[in-house]
């Protein structure tokens, strides 16, 4: 019983602290403000908790959940005080905002203006449907022992060792492990993978008092509703009506691949998808409104991406072009575009670049090879994998109709991309993400992941929340955030 309460505190306090700090960023009570705060607060709070664990280990203190939790509790009080002073604890009511894709505006002829009860009823039904989904996933998370492959070969191995030894023992290469005379180092095939996901699994088990797979899986279960809340909040801030926002949340949380990564907890892909997706949401808000706090959220979450998975570094870098066009006055866009094109031509003609980054390694960016330390070496060869890629994204039951929605959004949004900076930014994030996927599966040996139906969907999952939010911005006209009327 006591252990249960400790686990609840270990997960609840970072969540609450993160929420209050995010809420404190805005002086006014905005529609969607609290759901946004709860959503972003979950990820920021837990990341802060495991960062404190890391610092604790670096200092040489024994691994313990209580000290980081106390620090976060204190920070939460400070954040709560700030939130109170800046905006007060007001809650925007659900049905005050109109406009955009509400049923009121669908069609003036024949599709009569829907009464408020219809929208409310649909809203509640959707909530019930999503709640049922989460209950099913919760049972899987709680009952099923650690199941997916990489979880019991990599992410869960480190978490369990650290949990059982109460120490962040180092994981080294197999060669170093063989040579290690002390026997204190452990090894993994993927020993160089970032440790955030293992720390996320470790964190609640420290509070529990020992390794327990169900307890270790709880952060994955929380990630789903938190992602939904963050997405909902950003959608409402964008100007979407409550029902519209919830429909998009349903589209997101109903994705079979996302559900699978919650149910079969232990992989890193769900975390990267959620963190990257929320970073993109914040970036697009910043691009549209200039709200610096949205920029801060985007930056913090983008910085967390490489800590979750190695490819998170590349995904985070994809946000730079989008940020650049937002910073650049429109009259300089042709110069910017021309400069990029010229750089690419020079890069091609000169045979690419090779350089060494101190402490990281040699970087190759040539027309024949891309090599990034920690990520690997990729030789460029074209592989005709259109059929398996299309099959996985458009035909099999992995993504419902997401692929088709994105195609429609691309066609709908392309004519308007130069209308406003945020539209171009959104298209750049989307376009560069899709280009990276194309390059990975069509131009490198990773084509096997597509042919063998292995990582293709997991990599696409990283982009799914971001792409869905971008689709929302294409269809939903952005509006000035509505202040609470209370």
């Amino acid at each position: 019983m006591m252990a249960g309460w400790q686990v609840a505190l270990a997960l609840g306090i970072p969540w609450l602290a993160g929420t209050l700090w995010v809420r404190a960023l805005w002086r006014k009570s905005l529609a969607g403000g609290w759901p946004l705060a709860w959503g972003y607060g979950y990820f920021l709070g837990l990341l802060a908790a495991i960062l404190l664990l890391r610092i604790q280990a670096m200092i040489g203190w024994p691994l313990d959940w209580a000290e980081p939790t106390l620090i976060l509790a204190f920070l939460g009080l400070v954040g709560g005080g700030l939130a109170w002073r800046r905006g007060g604890f007001t809650f925007h009511s659900l049905d005050k905002v109109r406009g955009g894709f509400t049923f009121h505006s669908l069609d003036k002829e024949g599709w009569r203006v829907a009464p408020g009860w219809f929208e409310r009823g649909l809203f509640i039904l959707l909530l019930i449907w999503l709640g049922w989904r989460l209950i099913l996933l919760a049972q899987e998370v709680w009952l099923r022992p650690l199941y997916p492959w990489d979880a019991w070969t990599t992410w869960g191995v480190r978490a369990r060792v650290w949990s059982e030894l109460r120490e962040l023992v180092p994981f080294v290469s197999p060669e170093q492990w063989l040579a290690d005379a002390s026997g204190s180092a452990y090894t993994l095939h993927a020993w160089q993978y970032p440790d955030a996901v293992s720390l996320l699994a470790l964190w609640p088990t420290l509070a529990f008092g020992g390794w327990n797979e169900s307890i270790a899986h709880l952060p994955w279960l929380g990630a789903a509703p938190a992602l939904g809340l963050g997405f909902y909040g950003q959608a409402r801030l964008w100007g979407a009506a409550p029902l519209t926002a919830l429909i998009f949340v349903w589209l997101l949380l109903s994705l079979p691949m996302l559900n699978t990564h919650v149910a079969l907890a232990g992989y890193a892909d769900l975390w990267l998808a959620a963190v990257f997706g929320l970073a993109v949401g914040a970036l697009l808000q910043w691009a549209r409104t200039g709200d610096r706090w949205q920029g801060v959220l985007a930056l913090l979450l983008a910085l967390a991406c490489p800590w979750l998975k190695r490819e998170g570094l590349i995904w985070a870098l994809l946000l730079i072009p989008a940020a650049t066009v937002v910073w650049t006055p429109r009259r300089y866009w042709p110069w910017l575009g021309g400069g990029v094109l010229l750089t690419l031509i020079l890069w091609w003609v000169s045979g690419g670049i090779v350089f060494t980054v101190a402490g990281w390694g040699e970087v190759w960016l040539t027309p024949e090879v891309m090599q990034l330390p920690g990520l690997g070496r990729f030789e460029w060869h074209y592989h005709a994998v259109g059929e398996p890629v299309a099959r996985n994204l458009l035909i099999l039951g992995n993504w419902h109709l997401l692929g088709y929605l994105l195609l429609i959004a691309l066609l709908w949004g392309l004519p308007k991309i130069f209308a406003e900076p945020w539209r171009l930014a959104g298209m750049l994030v989307t376009g560069s993400g899709l280009f990276m996927l194309f390059a990975l599966f069509f131009l490198t040996d990773a084509y096997l992941w597509a042919v063998q139906y292995t990582s293709i969907n997991r990599v696409f999952l990283h982009f799914a929340p971001a792409l869905l939010f971008w689709a929302l911005t294409v269809f939903q006209e952005g509006q000035k955030p509505v202040v609470s009327s209370t």
């Binding site: 997916p148 492959w149 191995v157 349903w250």
Partner: protein
């Protein structure tokens, strides 16, 4: 009701075009399969000798096929490349093995997507021929890999010239039964689920996603044509509702799939403590073996070398995980040189390249020898401790 009246009630027009779209989709699907469209059902799967993987023997790829010089007493297995196969679509298996005589009847084997190995009830006593599959009771569901078992010993060379899986000729009713079976089959979680959540099969006969897209596209097209022909404006609402309806239908199926999977999970693991759940899991035998091993290991973490013929495989990896926090690693097919006195070595069976000499108390393999003391032996493997001498 006249068309003009329908047009004045857009919701009725919408419903009408929805129904028409569904009817057109069903018609299109029937015509597609009956006319032999490009599909899983009408393309035979063919493999040459160069495609197959040989287990239990050695072969050389030549222009004629895979040449196998001889077959040992234990026989050998030819595994075709992994490819998810909808068993109901294929009705016959054909083979051509030059040089094989009828005294060594082949047996067709296959591994299901759940990881179970099945075999045909009838053996094939000829070097070439075709055997029916639809009469095989275990030939159903989704097959992951197909193989051929050739019993030995056989001293003469044989050449694997070609293997083929031939589609079944199905009637319209049988097609419909296959489709319905595919749409209503619920799978349990598998090790592949984390990579794709395709539902009943990863190579569907009738992808529900694609069918719904076709249906919605036809309905949207019909609706748009009707509205435009009546000189009425098009608004996004009806199309949006169509799209959401399609998503909802797919999500309802997925929810039904999830309910089934959760029911299996609850039935298997509910009301059990952590140990009982692990024993009830898919590797319960490996977990029990690991528990027995753990009792022979010291309390504090010990260095443990897990040796197996498949170091990156499921069994070695699960044993390593279950024995944590013992400091184990399973990347070995034979004991490495870096073992020290006091370390533990776990040999996972079968491991024909390494043997234990009881008299000398040593593990021996082609390039080496390691003095050890046996600590525990079981069907899955044997635990040794490295001796100091």
């Amino acid at each position: 009701m006249k068309l003009a009246q329908i047009e004045r009630l857009p919701w009725l027009l919408w419903l009408t075009t929805l129904a028409l779209g569904a009817a057109l989709t069903v018609l299109a699907v029937l015509l597609y399969y009956r006319m032999g469209g490009q599909s899983e059902a009408n393309i035979p799967l063919r493999w040459t000798g160069a495609d197959v993987q040989l287990i239990g023997g050695q072969g050389t790829v030549t222009p004629a096929g895979l040449e196998i010089s001889s077959i040992g007493s234990q026989g050998l297995v030819l595994w075709m490349p992994s490819r998810r196969i909808n068993a109901g679509v294929y009705g016959a298996f054909a083979w051509n093995l030059v040089g094989l005589d009828s005294r060594h009847p082949l047996r067709l084997i296959w591994r299901t997507v759940e990881g179970q190995v099945r075999q045909a009830t009838q053996a094939m006593a000829a070097s070439a021929g075709q055997m029916p599959l639809r009469t095989e009771p275990e030939w159903q569901g989704t097959v992951l890999t197909m193989g051929l078992f050739i019993p030995g010993p056989y001293p003469a060379p044989i050449t694997v010239s070609g293997l083929e899986l031939r589609p079944a000729r199905l009637t319209a009713g049988e097609w419909w039964n296959r489709l319905w079976e595919e749409w209503t089959t619920r799978e349990d979680w598998s090790q592949g689920s984390i990579n794709f959540a395709a539902g009943a099969t990863s190579r569907p006969l009738g992808s529900l996603t694609l069918l719904i897209v076709i249906w919605l596209s036809l309905s949207a097209g019909l609706y748009a044509i009707s509205r435009l022909s009546a000189v009425r404006p098009l608004t996004p609402g009806p199309f949006l509702v169509l799209f959401l309806l399609g998503w909802l239908l797919l999500d309802m199926r997925w929810q039904w799939e999830l309910v089934g999977r959760t029911e299996r999970t609850v039935a298997r693991f509910a009301d059990k403590d952590e140990t009982e759940r692990r024993l009830a899991d898919l590797d319960g035998d490996i977990y029990q073996f690991s528990r027995d091993i753990r009792q022979r290991l010291p309390e504090s973490p010990a260095r443990l070398f897990i040796i197996s013929n498949d170091p990156t495989g499921f069994q070695a990896g699960r044993v390593r995980y279950h024995l944590l926090p013992h400091n184990g690693y399973m990347g070995f097919t034979q004991p490495p040189d870096a073992t020290r006195a006091g370390d533990y070595v776990l040999l996972m069976a079968p491991l024909p390249g390494v043997r234990y000499d009881r008299q000398k108390q040593a593990l021996e393999w082609r390039d080496g020898r390691l003095p050890v003391e046996e600590r525990y032996a079981a069907a899955l493997g044997t635990l040794f401790q490295v001796r100091g001498d």
